[in-house]
């Protein structure tokens, strides 16, 4: 048990804050997930490259692949500060998902080839897991990969591909052995996007951003872009959802709660300060409890990583709580902020400090609800693998 940060860790936090103060415009409240604005995208790429130049993309990676070999706690502090400020770090599929899988299961040659460009934010990755008929039941995916000499030929359709049209490489799960048991015939490829066999169809989301249908029609991939072992991608998929990174999504809720509490001290409803309203006070406390639950689950994950121990309950409690708490948090935000909470960011009449509270919180909830698996699926994992109930 050690609940205090070291002096060096506190200095690291200050260094990150200084960087964010310098590099982000004041009143920064935008997320790349809701915006297809080209100027914004250009800013996010430029910002992320500055983070790369600092060495902070790949912070914990071994030095031979461009990393700084820092400790997991340093990664968590980074995530806390960047999340609290909503810093627009893009290529999360690259440095999170792909790099995590490469570090866990990639060959030496693959690590040398793929990791440094991800570190530099030179090659942007998009995720190619979900298919129109393979959502929660990912192992039913049907996109096929057929060997053709030194290449593989990929055919099928992926969907909900965030940033697909901006990416250079698709982190693509495809079936390489149709006769194997369904969890045993899947392989991951880094599919170059700039080729005739890859195209996109837009899916505009309720938050104003864009996902994509991704059409793979005889797309060709060099064999050296196969990641991990042929037919054994399932282990990478299950272990690798953003493996190697410790996120701090509670800091997103924390910054919203901080703003809402500050606003409640000055805003009135029916002539009464909100902070003096007993119902609002109770709702604020519940929001704090949601934030704190996620914070402590994250601290627990950090301790698990530090002591190389598998998480309790098959790791499903964190996933369930994170997803369900976020929905409740957004609901409480709306209840506290009230009818102006429906106004979009930028509206003159929206309470400026909490403008992102209503629509933003709900958009994010909606994304988080399904990204990486629905809470219902995670509840099934918790009950069966975590508690041992029969399937």
């Amino acid at each position: 048990m050690e609940l205090q940060l070291t002096a060096a860790q506190n200095e690291w936090r200050e260094e990150l804050r200084d960087f964010l103060d310098t590099e982000l415009p004041p009143q920064w409240e935008r997320s790349t997930e809701w915006c297809e604005d080209e100027d914004f995208w250009a800013f996010a790429i430029a910002f992320t490259r500055k983070v790369s130049a600092k060495g902070w993309i790949g912070l914990t990676w071994p030095e031979e692949y461009g990393g700084l070999a820092r400790q997991p706690i340093d990664q968590l502090i980074f995530s806390e500060e960047f999340t609290y400020r909503d810093a627009p770090v893009v290529n999360t599929i690259g440095w999170g998902l792909a790099a995590g899988a490469l570090l866990a299961g990639g060959t030496e040659a693959q690590k040398q080839k793929f990791l440094p460009p991800i570190q530099r934010t030179d090659v942007l990755w998009a995720e190619g897991y979900t298919e129109p008929e393979a959502g929660s039941d990912l192992a039913s995916l049907t996109t096929s990969a057929v060997r053709d000499g030194d290449e593989w030929v990929i055919t099928g359709q992926k969907t909900f591909t965030t940033w697909g049209s901006h990416a250079d490489m698709l982190y693509c799960a495809a079936r390489t052995d149709p006769d194997a048991p369904r969890h045993r015939g899947i392989t991951i490829f880094g599919v170059p996007i700039d080729q005739p066999g890859v195209s996109f169809g837009p899916l505009f989301n309720i938050g104003g951003g864009r996902q994509n249908h991704t059409f793979l029609e005889g797309a060709r991939v060099p064999h050296e872009n196969m990641i991990g072992t042929e037919g054994r991608a399932w282990d990478l998929i299950m272990g690798g959802f953003y493996g190697g990174n410790i996120g701090a999504s509670y800091m997103d809720a924390q910054q919203k709660l901080d703003k809402i509490v500050a606003w409640c001290k000055t805003a009135r409803r029916n002539g009464k300060l909100l902070i003096e309203d007993a119902v609002v006070r109770d709702q604020l406390a519940e929001m704090d409890l949601l934030v704190q639950a996620e914070r402590l689950l994250t601290y627990e994950s950090l301790s698990n990583i530090q002591s190389r121990r598998p998480p309790a309950f098959a790791g499903a409690i964190g996933a369930v709580v994170g997803k369900e708490a976020m929905a409740r948090f957004a609901e409480l935000t709306n209840l506290v902020v009230g009818r102006v909470g429906q106004l979009a960011v930028g509206s003159r009449w929206a309470p400026i400090d909490v403008a992102s509270g209503g629509p933003e919180a709900w958009f994010r909830t909606s994304i988080r609800n399904h990204a990486g698996g629905t809470p219902q699926v995670k509840r099934m994992v918790l009950a069966t693998r975590g508690l041992g109930l029969p399937r």
């Binding site: 048990m1 050690e2 609940l3 205090q4 940060l5 860790q9 706690i73 968590l76 709660l257 509490v261 409640c264 001290k265 902070i275 006070r281 109770d282 604020l284 406390a285 519940e286 704090d288 409890l289 704190q292 639950a293 402590l296 689950l297 601290y299 627990e300 950090l302 301790s303 530090q306 002591s307 309790a312 309950f313 409690i317 369930v320 709580v321 509840r379 099934m380 918790l382 009950a383 069966t384 975590g386 508690l387 041992g388 109930l389 029969p390 399937r391």
Partner: protein, 377 residues
């Protein structure tokens, strides 16, 4: 940063679990509930000989060192087995107040309390039913020589029938910015004018009303400064709230085992009910809330032991625990359905104890209010 328990704490948890599983079997728990004392003085004495009454008190006060973390793993084991002992009332709150007061009378009583040969208990609650200094109205008249005369009633006093002394919180002045206006007094339970009335209750807990009919104690019986008793009591109650939360977590953990075990073996509609997702959801609700309670307990206890600013952590732990104390039994009853309603079946023992623990040492509402106080500060 590391939220793991230390190895010696893991070992202590294991020792405590084996101790209470052997010494506080469910049939013994049923017998103790029906007994006059409401607990087993033998088990309490064994806890004393293991050093578990001295735990959490500094060696300078006759304690054994250690902190809330060590105690919390013992309380989890007590919660799992529903072991009824006056540990929280006497060895944590009572001894904590005595040690903090440090007067000769307090120090003299501390030794038998930590040895388990005396039991003392706090008498705080009144018909205001709140928790916190504002709820204390029992009038105490301070005489010029420092003696205190008490008039009125306290309720929900645990183990009063086994107690040699009560720690009574009396209203001696209106609250001010400088002090709570509350004075703490050590009152002999057998003193003239003190009357105990057993309060039958859902939890089967030995709860009493204590009535003070012009009870006078001398200045040596005052604990802490006059009118500033709550200031002395508050940090002790924080520790106790975290331990009550740990006890709830232990009970929820056991309810999870009972529920999963039942769902794995009970068949309806041709298959075990644990296959139904509706039942799986009920079980996972218990697991989630139990786990969150354990994390919040560990965090609050760790901050208390390290002497770091505790902020909202104590109230987060007890608010979550009070929620768990409602939710875990409710879900367990839903899994078990009719059989959970039957006295022969064990689930109801946990449900009834949780009704007391949920509301003890500040209910969810009280602690949520404290959280918002901290947020808005």
């Amino acid at each position: 940063m590391d939220i793991d328990l230390e190895q010696h704490q893991v070992d202590l948890a294991d020792t405590a679990r084996r101790f209470f599983e052997a010494r506080s079997t469910i049939s013994a728990v049923r017998d103790w509930e029906a007994s006059e004392a409401g607990y087993s003085p033998e088990v309490y004495q064994e806890m004393a000989s293991l050093g578990w009454l001295q735990l959490g008190h500094p060696e300078s006060a006759g304690g054994a060192g250690g902190g809330v973390l060590e105690l919390s793993v013992i309380y989890q084991a007590m919660g799992r087995t529903l072991a009824p002992v006056p540990h929280l009332e006497s060895a944590v709150i009572g001894a904590g107040v005595l040690a903090a007061a440090g007067t000769p009378a307090a120090r003299a009583l501390l030794e038998p309390v930590l040895a388990g040969t005396s039991v003392i208990t706090p008498a705080l609650a009144e018909d205001d039913t709140g928790f916190g200094p504002e709820s204390i109205a029992l009038p105490g008249a301070l005489e010029s020589g420092g003696a205190l005369r008490l008039e009125g009633s306290k309720i929900l006093v645990g183990y009063a029938n086994s107690a040699s002394h009560l720690i009574v919180a009396a209203r001696t002045a209106p609250p001010s910015d400088a002090a709570s206006g509350i004075t703490l007094a050590l009152v002999e339970a057998a003193a003239p004018g003190v009357e105990l009335t057993r309060l039958p209750n859902l939890a089967g807990y030995p709860l009493y009303a204590t009535t003070f009919d012009s009870v006078r104690v001398g200045p040596e019986a005052i604990l802490g400064r006059a009118h500033a008793g709550w200031e002395l009591l508050a940090p002790v109650l924080d520790r106790a709230a975290v331990l009550r939360a740990a006890q709830i977590q232990g009970a929820a953990d056991r309810l999870l085992e009972l529920s999963v075990g039942y769902a794995e073996h009970r068949s309806q509609f041709g298959q075990v009910i644990g296959r139904y997702q509706a039942v799986q959801y009920l079980c996972s609700d218990i697991a989630i809330n139990s786990h969150l309670t354990s994390l919040m307990v560990r965090y609050a206890a760790g901050l208390l032991d390290a002497g770091l600013p505790v902020g909202k952590a104590v109230s987060e732990a007890k608010a979550q625990a009070s929620l768990t104390a409602r939710l875990a039994p409710e879900r367990a009853h839903a899994v078990h359905a009719g059989i959970a309603f039957i006295l022969d079946f064990d689930v109801q023992l946990f449900t009834r104890r949780c009704r007391h623990w949920e509301l003890d040492l500040g209910d969810e509402r009280y602690h949520r209010e404290r959280i918002t106080d901290a947020l808005a500060a």
